[in-house]
C-alpha cells in the first residue's frame, strides 16, 4: 500500500494550493478529488482576487488580501487581468458607505499597483461606461485584479505534480482510517479504475469545501459549516467596458464583471441545505440580479444571457447574523483536541486567500509531523509565468489569428509557443474546434496529453471549450472525437461523453433560457437529437441520470 505524509482531499482552489505547498516543502503528497480539478465552488466564482473591498470592517483581512494580490501578480501574472470598476451613485444616500471604503482601499492601493479610489463626475463616468444610467450623481472608480479560477487550480495542481505530488481525480473518499485516535490512512473509490483503493498517510488536510463536514464525519470528527449559495447570470460578450458595482433591491452590493469573453452578473447569497450537486439558479435569483442591475445599467435585459451558474460558499459557522456579516476570513481547524489526531479542516475563506490558507494548514501539518520547512509558494512562479508572449510574432510565424493566440496566451502563458510548435508537424491542428472561445485542435491535444482530463467537461475547464454563446452546439461532437481518439474510448463512451457534456451545459442554459438562446437550443436539439438521434440512443446507452436531473 502506498504511503504518504499527507493526503489532501478536494481539488478546488484551496486543495490544489495545499497540495502545491506540501509538495514544495518536500512532503510526500497525494491530492484526491472526487470529480475534476476546480469542478465545484471555485468553478462558479467570478475570479476576483479581491482587495477585500467588501470586508472593510476586518482590516487584518484587507491587509492579507492585499498582500495575496501582490503574490499572485508575482507567481501567476499570465492568468491575471486588471479590471477598472465603477460604482455609480444614484442617490446621496449611496454615498455614506463610499467614503470609508475609499479611505481603506486607498491606503493599500500603491502596493497593488493601482490608483487610489477616485470620485468621478457623471460626465466622466459616462465617458468610461456609456451604458450607465445617465441620472447618476457621481461614481467611485477603482481597480481590482481577476484571475482565471480554472487555470489557477490547474496550475497549482500541475506545479504540485512537478514537485512529486500524486494527483488523482475521480477518486471519492469513502472512509478515513484511524488507529488509537490517529489518522492512519484513506480509503477511496477510484471511478476511472472502477474499484476501491486505499493508501496510508500520517496526515489529512480536508479542503472539501461545502462537503468538508462530511469528510470530517468519516473520521468521527465534528465540523460545522454555514453553507450559502450564490448565483451568477452569464452575459455574452463585454456588454460593459468596465466592472460595475450596484446596490441590489434589499441593499446588498452586486456586480457586473467582465470575465474572459463574457460578463458575469452576480451574485445572490442565500443560506442553503440542498445537495450542492443538485443546485441550479432559480427564477427568483435571476430576476433579482437583473432587476437590481437594471437601475444602473438600464439596457441590461438587451444583452444575450448565455447561461447561469450556482455555487456554494462554505462559510465560517456564525449564526443569527446576515450572511454579509459573517467573516470573510477562514479557520484552520486541528481536530486533535477532539481526539482525531492528524486531521486538519478548513472553514470559510475566499479565492484570494487560497494560498494563504494553504500556507497556514501546511505550517500546522509540518509542525505536527515535526518537520521544519519554509513556505515558498508566494515566490515560486506557476507554470507558464516565465516569459512575456509576443502575440503578433507568434500569430505571424504560425499562421494563426492574433485573437486565437491571445486567447491561448490568457490560458497558457509561455506554453503558447510550445503548443503552436505542434502545428509544424500537424498543420491541420490549426483548425478551430471551439469557435466561440476560440480553441484550436493543437491546444486540445496538448491539454489532453498534459493535464489529464477524463471527460469533455474536464476539457472545458482546461480550455474554456463550449463556454461561449453556442454552449457547445458546434464544438461538442468535434472535441469529443478528438478526446475519444486520444483516450482510445469506445463508441459508446464517446456518445456518453457527448451526452454528459450536453447535460452539464443544459443545466446552466435551462434556467435562464430566452431570446436567441432558445434558437440556439433548437439548433442543438436539431443536431444531437433530430439528426444525431442521441436522444434515442440515450435509451440504449448506459446513461446515468445527473444529480440535477429529474425522472421524466
Amino acid at each position: 500500500m502506498a504511503k504518504y505524509d499527507v493526503v489532501v482531499i478536494g481539488a478546488g482552489s484551496t486543495g490544489t494550493a495545499v497540495a502545491r505547498d506540501c509538495a514544495m516543502r518536500g512532503l510526500k503528497t497525494l491530492l484526491l478529488e472526487r470529480d475534476d480539478i476546480a469542478s465545484a465552488t471555485v468553478g462558479t466564482c467570478a475570479g476576483m482576487i479581491s482587495s477585500g473591498l467588501k470586508y472593510m470592517d476586518e482590516p487584518n483581512i484587507v491587509d492579507m488580501c492585499s498582500d495575496e494580490v501582490v503574490y499572485f501578480k508575482r507567481i501567476a501574472r499570465h492568468i491575471i487581468a486588471k479590471n477598472p470598476i465603477l460604482t455609480p451613485l444614484l442617490e446621496m444616500s449611496d454615498l455614506s458607505s463610499g467614503g470609508n471604503f475609499a479611505e481603506e482601499y486607498s491606503k493599500r492601493a500603491e502596493t497593488r499597483d493601482v490608483p487610489p479610489v477616485l470620485f468621478l463626475t457623471p460626465e466622466d463616468s459616462l465617458k468610461i461606461e456609456p451604458m450607465l444610467n445617465p441620472d447618476l450623481i457621481a461614481s467611485l472608480y477603482f481597480e481590482e485584479y481577476f484571475i482565471d479560477p480554472f487555470a489557477l487550480c490547474m496550475l497549482q495542481a500541475l506545479d504540485a505534480k512537478q514537485h512529486s505530488a500524486d494527483i488523482k481525480t475521480y477518486c471519492e473518499v469513502t472512509d478515513i482510517l484511524t488507529k488509537n485516535g490517529s489518522i492512519t490512512g484513506v480509503q477511496y473509490f477510484n471511478r476511472i479504475a472502477d474499484k476501491m483503493e486505499s493508501v496510508k498517510t500520517k496526515a489529512i488536510i480536508n479542503a472539501a469545501g461545502p462537503w468538508a463536514h462530511k469528510i470530517a464525519a468519516l473520521a468521527g470528527a465534528k465540523l460545522e459549516l454555514r453553507l450559502n449559495k450564490g448565483a451568477h447570470v452569464i452575459l455574452d460578450r463585454r456588454v460593459v467596458n468596465v466592472g460595475v458595482i450596484a446596490k441590489a433591491i434589499e441593499g446588498r452590493m452586486i456586480y457586473l464583471f467582465p470575465h474572459e469573453n463574457t460578463v458575469l452578473l452576480g451574485t445572490t447569497a442565500l443560506d442553503t441545505w440542498e445537495d450542492p450537486d443538485t443546485l441550479v439558479a432559480s427564477q427568483d435569483e435571476i430576476e433579482y440580479l437583473l432587476k437590481s442591475m437594471e437601475w444602473v445599467i438600464p439596457s441590461i435585459r438587451d444583452a444575450r444571457i448565455i447561461r447561469t451558474m450556482e455555487g456554494v460558499r462554505p462559510l465560517v459557522p456564525t449564526w443569527k447574523i446576515p450572511e454579509g456579516d459573517v467573516t470573510r476570513g477562514y479557520e484552520v481547524i486541528d481536530h486533535e483536541p477532539e481526539g482525531v489526531s492528524g486531521l486538519v479542516s478548513f472553514t470559510g475563506g475566499k479565492l484570494v486567500m487560497c494560498r494563504h490558507m494553504a500556507e497556514a494548514a501546511t505550517d500546522l501539518v509540518c509542525k505536527n509531523l515535526g518537520i521544519e520547512t519554509e513556505c515558498k509558494t508566494h515566490n515560486m512562479p506557476l507554470p507558464g509565468n516565465s516569459d512575456d508572449v509576443d502575440i503578433m510574432a507568434l500569430a505571424k510565424e504560425y499562421g494563426v489569428s492574433q485573437h486565437t493566440v491571445e486567447r491561448m496566451r490568457a490560458r497558457r502563458g509561455s506554453e503558447t509557443a510550445t503548443i503552436l510548435e505542434l502545428t509544424r508537424d500537424h498543420p491541420e491542428w490549426k483548425t478551430t474546434i471551439c469557435t466561440c472561445e476560440p480553441v484550436i485542435e493543437a491546444e486540445l491535444r496538448y491539454a489532453i496529453r498534459e493535464t489529464f482530463p477524463q471527460t469533455l467537461n474536464d476539457l472545458r475547464r482546461r480550455v474554456r471549450l463550449g463556454t461561449g454563446p453556442c454552449q457547445g452546439t458546434f464544438c461538442t461532437f468535434k472535441a469529443a472525437a478528438i478526446l475519444a481518439e486520444e483516450l482510445e474510448l469506445s463508441g459508446e463512451e464517446f456518445q456518453l461523453d457527448i451526452a454528459d457534456f450536453l447535460a452539464e451545459r443544459w443545466k446552466g442554459k435551462r434556467q435562464s433560457i430566452r431570446g436567441e438562446q432558445i434558437a440556439q437550443e433548437e439548433l442543438a436539439q436539431g443536431i444531437y437529437a433530430c439528426v444525431g438521434n442521441l436522444d434515442q440512443a440515450q435509451e440504449e446507452l448506459d446513461y446515468d441520470l445527473k444529480p440535477w436531473e429529474e425522472v421524466l
Binding site: W506, A519, C530, G532, Q538
Partner: protein
C-alpha cells in the same frame, strides 16, 4: 413600390416553399418572403416524416405506421388535423395517410425536376447513417445519401473516409460507433475501416468546411484525384462501401457518386450531417429553383411586418427589405415563419410570442403560452425521447390550417399557417420536421388557393 398578389407566403423554408410552389402551380400570383437562411438549409437534407411516435422509443418501421398511430392517439398533432373532415370516423387514418402520401409524392416529383433525386417513400423508414456513426430512421433521403446494400449484404465492408483539416467528421469514431451499433443489432457490416484523406481543397489544409469541399468537388478533375486516393484504401481493406461526409458537390453530387463507384469499385454515399449542411443547402436551392421556375416571385432578405390584426381579413402585408419597404396587397396569406431558428416564434421571460401578427401561442399540449416563461416548457434532462415541450409550442390552428385566437375562433379568414410555426408536435424527438413542413405547407396552400378561387369566383 407596391405589389399585388393572390397569395403571399411569409417564410422561405420547406413549408413556405412548398406552399409557394403549389399556389403558383394552381395559377396564383404568388409572392414569397424569405428573411434569411431557413432551418431547412441547416437540416441534414433527410426528409423525416415520422420516425418515432410522440414520446415513443421504438423506431417506426414506416411513416404509414406512425401516421396511423397519430390518427388514433394524437388528433391535435398537425398530421392528426389532416383527418378532420366530414368523412366517416373509421376513414380518418386512411385520409391522413393519403394526404401525406400525396404531398410527399408531389415533393419527390418536384425535386426530381430540379435535379435532386430522392430515395424512399412513406411505406418504409430508411436507416440513415450520420457523421457520428449513429443510425436514425427517416422517410426519404437524397439518392447520394442512401447507403445501398451496406446494412443488408452480409459481406459488406465499409470504409469511413474523412478529410484532413475538416473537423466536422471524424471517420475513426464514426466507424467505431457504427460498428458497435450494427454488432449489437446483429446486422452487417462486420468490418469497417477508416481513413483521413489529404485533400487540401483549394490549397487549404486546416479549418476546412463542408461547403468548401463540395465546391471543390464540383469540378470533375478534383473528383478523379479523390477517387484515386480512395481507391488505395478501398483495396487495402476490401471495402464494398465508402461512407463520406456530405460533400459530394452542389451541382454534381449524383454524377460524382456514380463516378466514384466507377473509379473505386465501391459504392460511395454521403452521411447525414450538421450545419453548415451541403444537402440542406441543395434542398433549399432545389425548392427555390422550382418556385421561381413555376413563376413565383421570391423576395430574399425581406421580412413581413404587420400591425396586429385589426379586422378578420388580411389585405396588405409590408415586406421590409434592407433598402426598401414594399406594400403587397393580397387575397390570402400563408404564415410559414418557422419556430425559434426561423424567428416565427420567440420567447422572453414574459412569454412565447408569434412574431409577425402577434397571434396567440400555445404549448405542445395546447395550453395558452403567451405569458409562459420558456423555462417552464423544458425538462431537466437535456436529451431525451420526450424532448422539450418548448419545441412543440407555437400556433394552434383550425382544421382549415388557420391560426386561432381563442376557442376555435380563427385570427383571420384568409390567414393560414404551416411548418414549424405550428404547435403540437416535437420534431427533434419524433423526427418529423420536414415531413410536417411539406404536408402542412401543401394543405395550407390548398386551402388558401381554394379561398382565393372562392373569393375570385
Amino acid at each position: 413600390m407596391n405589389l399585388e398578389a393572390d397569395v403571399v407566403v411569409i417564410g422561405g423554408g420547406m413549408a413556405g416553399l412548398v406552399a409557394g410552389i403549389r399556389a403558383t402551380e394552381e395559377g396564383m400570383k404568388t409572392v414569397l418572403l424569405r428573411k434569411g437562411q431557413s432551418a431547412t438549409a441547416y437540416s441534414s437534407g433527410a426528409i423525416d416524416v415520422i420516425g418515432y411516435l410522440p414520446g415513443g422509443t421504438m423506431p417506426l418501421g414506416s411513416p404509414v405506421e406512425g401516421l396511423q398511430g397519430i390518427a388514433s392517439m394524437f388528433p391535435l398533432h398537425p398530421y392528426g388535423l389532416l383527418g378532420f373532415t366530414d368523412a366517416e370516423p373509421d376513414t380518418v387514418s386512411k385520409t391522413i395517410v393519403e394526404k401525406v402520401r400525396t404531398a410527399v409524392s408531389w415533393l419527390k416529383a418536384t425535386l426530381l425536376s430540379s435535379n435532386i433525386p430522392l430515395f424512399g417513400d412513406i411505406d418504409s423508414n430508411l436507416d440513415a447513417v450520420t457523421v457520428l456513426g449513429t443510425v436514425k430512421p427517416t422517410c426519404m433521403i437524397q439518392e447520394t445519401m442512401w447507403p445501398g446494400s451496406l446494412m443488408l449484404d452480409a459481406d459488406s465492408v465499409a470504409l469511413f473516409a474523412g478529410v484532413r483539416g475538416f473537423p466536422a467528421f471524424n471517420p475513426r469514431m464514426a466507424a467505431q460507433v457504427f460498428l458497435e451499433h450494427q454488432i449489437s443489432n446483429r446486422l452487417p457490416p462486420r468490418k469497417v475501416g477508416h481513413h483521413v484523406l489529404d485533400m487540401a481543397p483549394f490549397g487549404n489544409n486546416y479549418n476546412i468546411s463542408s461547403i468548401e469541399i463540395a465546391r471543390y468537388l464540383d469540378t470533375e478533375d478534383n473528383l478523379s484525384v479523390l477517387a484515386k486516393k480512395l481507391k488505395k484504401h478501398v483495396e487495402r481493406i476490401g471495402a464494398t462501401h465508402i461512407a463520406l461526409p456530405p460533400v459530394l458537390g452542389f451541382n454534381r453530387a449524383r454524377e460524382n457518386q456514380l463516378a466514384l463507384q466507377d473509379l473505386t469499385g465501391a459504392y460511395a454515399f454521403e452521411l447525414l450531417s450538421f450545419p453548415p449542411s451541403v444537402p440542406g443547402l441543395r434542398l433549399q436551392r432545389g425548392l427555390e429553383t422550382a418556385f421561381v421556375k413555376a413563376g413565383g416571385t421570391l423576395l430574399v432578405g425581406h421580412h413581413a411586418k404587420m400591425d396586429s390584426l385589426k379586422s378578420n381579413i388580411v389585405k396588405e402585408i409590408t415586406a421590409v427589405g434592407p433598402k426598401r419597404n414594399l406594400k403587397i396587397s393580397t387575397k390570402a396569406a400563408v404564415l410559414a415563419t418557422g419556430k425559434f431558428i426561423g424567428g416565427g416564434i420567440t420567447g422572453t421571460e414574459n412569454g412565447i410570442r408569434e412574431s409577425v401578427f402577434d397571434l396567440m401561442t400555445v404549448s405542445e399540449s395546447f395550453r395558452i403560452a403567451t405569458s409562459t416563461t420558456p423555462q417552464k416548457l423544458t425538462n431537466t434532462i437535456a436529451l431525451s425521447h420526450i424532448g422539450h415541450p418548448l419545441f412543440g409550442s407555437g400556433l394552434s390552428i383550425d382544421p382549415q390550417f388557420r391560426p386561432i385566437t381563442g376557442e376555435e375562433v380563427h385570427a383571420a379568414k384568409n390567414l393560414y399557417a404551416a411548418g414549424s410555426v405550428l404547435a403540437g408536435y416535437n420534431y427533434p424527438a419524433e423526427k418529423s420536421g420536414l415531413g410536417v413542413a411539406i404536408v402542412t405547407g401543401y394543405m395550407a396552400s390548398r386551402n388558401a388557393v381554394d379561398y382565393v378561387k372562392g373569393v375570385s369566383a
